[in-house]
């Protein structure tokens, strides 16, 4: 835990504390990274990983504690200071100027800016070759894919001669292949003697790329372990703080019957790209249908298409042979289908961040009352009911929901949707950003709905959860279905393969291991 006094320490944090108002985001954190190693920073959401890294890159300032680079105590007041010290951060949300070319972004803010473009280009190409990166320096950022943008970010950092690289959840937006490519680049950096810090909460990635892991929990540095001596269970335990029974209840399906049939559905993104390509499947009452896939494989569009938020390019959603595509929500309800949707972006889509619980309850119900006026009393009662039932912690029903914690926000959203007694419940990444306890509350709520014979769709990213919670799993890859399998008859590896686009051979015969 304490820093070993070795000469090859690249960066060291001692007792770093950072408060936001009354919240202590980082509490006396210690961290050591050596030259030529990859350190994974592991922790649940809200454990203070990003805050800590933002202090190393000069975005925030620590309230207490010290940072040492190459054994020398330093003060990092701004990103410039960080760059001078050889620290480079690749943010989760890219910091690129869209209308600039890759080259302009790479040289931005450096001394050489715009001097002898040919030389700069040569230098960028030389750097790219050295680390195995591929990029056209003249290309505009807005024409680039996500992984190309990430490449530009990496080049930006390398161009500045960074010796310490920090990557904040770099794989969240990448396909498995792109992830592997990125890891290859990171290994090269390591072999050149650089220190790499990678922030993530994906355990398999931690195990495959890092040399050591530092675990943060509730703003404290709990432990640093050597990767080769740890496994998924020990890391989870450190992350959560207690032994976790990583099993989720899966009540048996009682009377599975079809409620919706999706036929040859294709949906385009607003920018015109095909997000969902000729997708067909059925949704059954009383079961949880899991949807797996690399982020951006069409999950979002599928959900939004089902609930009518995106217009359908082609295909049909059938309810008892009647196509509900193009029908208004009112008409759909008249048919006897009530759909509820828990979107991925809770505060930006599912709820109004600046309004209290009462007004957020109104979002779904305000129209149902006759006349031009809004009645708040029923919504107020509903809010109070939810607080009691789901044990929501909030100062009051009129406190803006953005002031609430992630878990409570999700309870408000789920609670509201469940109260409308839907028969189809679509959830997109419903446990993203929640701590383990809140996650389990969500699983319980979903199972409760399942037992009430509701058809539940669960879009998830954690394959272990999908395998344990869902009855069937549908895998999407580049907008196409690569398989629909029974969750108890499939392995994680098989799903992983399908996520990369491989169709599973003879699905029905597959014997699962768990």
């Amino acid at each position: 835990m304490t820093a070993q006094k070795e000469n090859n320490v690249a960066i060291e944090c001692r007792g770093i504390t950072k408060r936001f108002g009354s919240v202590v985001a980082n509490d006396k954190i210690n961290l050591t990274v050596r030259k030529g190693e990859i350190l994974a920073l592991l922790g649940e959401n809200g454990s203070g990983k990003t805050t800590l890294m933002n202090m190393l890159s000069g975005i925030y300032h620590p309230d207490e504690g010290s940072i040492l680079v190459d054994g020398r105590e330093v003060t990092i007041n701004s990103p410039t200071d960080a760059t001078k010290l050889g620290i480079g951060m690749i943010h989760q949300h890219f910091k690129l100027v869209e209308v600039f070319s890759a080259m302009e972004n790479i040289v931005l803010g450096t001394r050489e800016t715009l001097q002898k473009p040919k030389e700069m280009k040569a230098r960028i190409e030389e750097l790219s070759a050295r680390f195995g990166l591929e990029i056209d320096p003249q290309e505009k950022i807005y024409n680039m894919s996500v992984s190309e943008k990430q490449t530009v970010e990496i080049l930006k950092v390398l161009y500045r001669g960074a010796k310490i690289l920090i990557l904040d959840e770099p794989t969240a937006v990448l396909t498995p292949q792109e992830t592997e490519k990125l890891f290859e680049i990171l290994r090269r950096m390591k072999s050149e003697g650089n220190a790499v810090i990678i922030i993530t909460h994906k355990l398999n990635e931690v195990l495959s790329i890092s040399d050591r892991v530092t675990i943060l929990r509730k703003g404290r540095s709990i432990e640093t372990v050597v990767t080769s001596e740890s496994d998924v269970h020990s890391l989870t335990e450190l992350m959560v703080g207690r032994p976790v029974e990583l099993s989720i209840d899966r009540p048996p399906v009682e009377n599975r019957s079809e409620i919706l049939k999706v036929v040859n559905l294709s949906i385009r993104k607003p920018d015109g790209a095909l997000a969902l390509n000729d997708v067909s499947f059925t949704i059954n009452r009383g079961e949880i249908l899991g949807i797996a896939g690399v982020a951006g494989s069409g999950q979002k569009e599928l959900c939004e298409g089902l609930v009518g938020l995106l217009s359908v390019e082609k295909g049909a959603i059938l309810y008892d042979k009647e196509n509900i595509v193009g029908k208004t929500p009112a008409e759909i309800i008249d048919l006897g289908i009530s759909m509820s949707f828990i979107p991925e972006d809770r505060l930006g889509m599912g709820l109004v961040a600046g309004m209290g619980m009462v007004e957020n309850m109104l979002l779904k119900s305000y129209r149902s009352k006759k006349g031009p006026f809004v009645k708040t009393q029923p919504a107020r009662e509903q809010a109070q009911r939810l607080i009691k039932r789901l044990e929501i912690v909030t100062p009051g029903v009129d406190t803006p929901v953005r002031m609430m914690s992630g878990g409570n926000v999700q309870k408000v959203l789920l609670g509201r949707e469940i109260e409308s007694s839907p028969n189809v419940l679509i959830t997109a990444y419903p446990v993203r950003g929640l701590d383990i306890n809140s996650s389990y509350t969500v699983y319980e709520l979903l199972n409760e709905q399942k037992k009430k014979n509701v058809a539940v769709i669960y879009v998830g990213e954690d394959l272990d959860v999908l395998l344990e919670l869902c009855d069937r799993i549908m895998v999407l890859c580049h907008g196409k279905i690569t398989g629909i399998v029974d969750a108890d008859k499939v392995t994680k590896d098989e799903i992983g393969l399908m996520m990369t686009g491989e169709q599973l051979q003879s699905e029905s015969e597959t014997e699962g291991e768990n």
Binding site: S57, P79, K95, V97, L108, G109, T113, K156
Partner: protein, 317 residues
């Protein structure tokens, strides 16, 4: 022929105050700040330039004062929007109301305390404001008149525009500035001093607007103080920024077009009989057209800098 030359010369002169206002506003918008206070900044520049000129009898000092007056007005805007993160639209509009009011107030005050009830710049300055005459060049037929028969303002304006064009397009600082206007968080992460850069460019822009204000009082009103001397030119300048698609060099051409629209009424035969109001309306109508066309075509390089209108706070996520 001579009518046409006269018309061109008049258009160029008439577009010059707008050019200054536009260049100033471009400086604001390049760092991501839409400033609706151009009219007010120009008014403050006008009153500062006029009063200093009136007292010191020096054209150069008057210009410097106009620049400083405009820069100070913009400094106030920068303080509120950059540091205090106040709403840009509201701050800009307030600056217009405040600036015009302040200029009128000071002008009125000076007028009340003047000896003969009028305020007029001394002859020494008015002489210097007259058209620059370059021996030899100005006498070349046609060309001499077209190129070398203007007040110093015209040359200052065009040179400023060319310098700004070079600054934004070719220099390192210019690239940094554009990055701030497009994505301040990216610029910040790249190590650019966002706040300092914003302040400098906003104040520079204010100064340039201030000179435009001085033009209105010194040339348009021939050195005699009147209330509301800027008379809406500041708003046309905001329009011209859109017309010029945020390019200082295109603003030169745009200012001639707008100048021509302001002058054409005097060169049309009466028989055509178009109401002068139509000429007045045209710059705005054309700007509206340009605004719509650019938004329909979505040419990202020719649009308003993406971060325009929103303030930047580093710790916002």
């Amino acid at each position: 022929m001579s009518m046409i030359i006269k018309f061109i010369v008049a258009s160029i002169a008439s577009g010059t105050p707008i050019l200054f206002g536009t260049l100033g506003e471009i400086c604001h918008e390049k760092v991501g700040h839409l400033n609706l206070g151009v009219e007010g900044i120009m008014s403050i520049g006008a009153v500062a330039g006029f009063m200093v000129g009136y007292r010191t009898d020096s054209f150069v000092l008057a210009l410097i004062a106009a620049f400083i007056g405009g820069a100070l007005a913009s400094l106030l805007y920068a303080l509120l929007t950059v540091t205090f993160m106040a709403n840009q639209n509201v701050t800009g509009l307030t600056l217009t109301i405040f600036g015009v009011g302040l200029a009128n107030f000071i002008g009125y005050y000076a007028l009340q305390h003047s000896e003969n009830g009028t305020l007029k710049l001394p002859e020494n300055i008015t002489a210097q404001m007259r058209n620059v005459s370059i021996p030899g060049l100005s006498n070349i037929p046609v060309l001499g008149e077209l190129l070398f028969s203007y007040t110093p303002f015209v040359y200052i304006g065009i040179i400023t525009a060319l310098l700004l064009g070079y600054y934004y397009k070719r220099t390192k600082t210019g690239l940094n500035v554009r990055a701030i206007g497009e994505n301040p968080a990216a610029a910040d992460a790249a190590g650019i001093k966002v706040t300092k850069c914003k302040y400098l460019n906003i104040c520079l822009g204010g100064g340039i607007c201030g000179i435009g204000g001085a033009y209105t009082i010194m040339i348009i009103n021939k050195g005699v103080w009147i209330s509301d001397c800027v008379g809406g030119l500041g708003w046309i300048a905001v329009a011209l920024v859109i017309f010029a698609t945020w390019s200082p060099v295109k603003a030169i051409l745009g200012s001639f077009v707008f100048g021509a629209l302001r002058q054409i009424r005097y060169y049309m035969p009466n028989s055509i009989g178009i109401s002068t109001a139509i000429y007045d309306m045209l710059p705005y109508a054309i700007t509206l057209l340009v605004l719509v066309v650019t938004s329909v075509r979505m040419v990202r390089e020719k649009s308003q800098p993406a971060a325009c209108g929103t303030n930047y706070f580093r710790e916002d996520r």
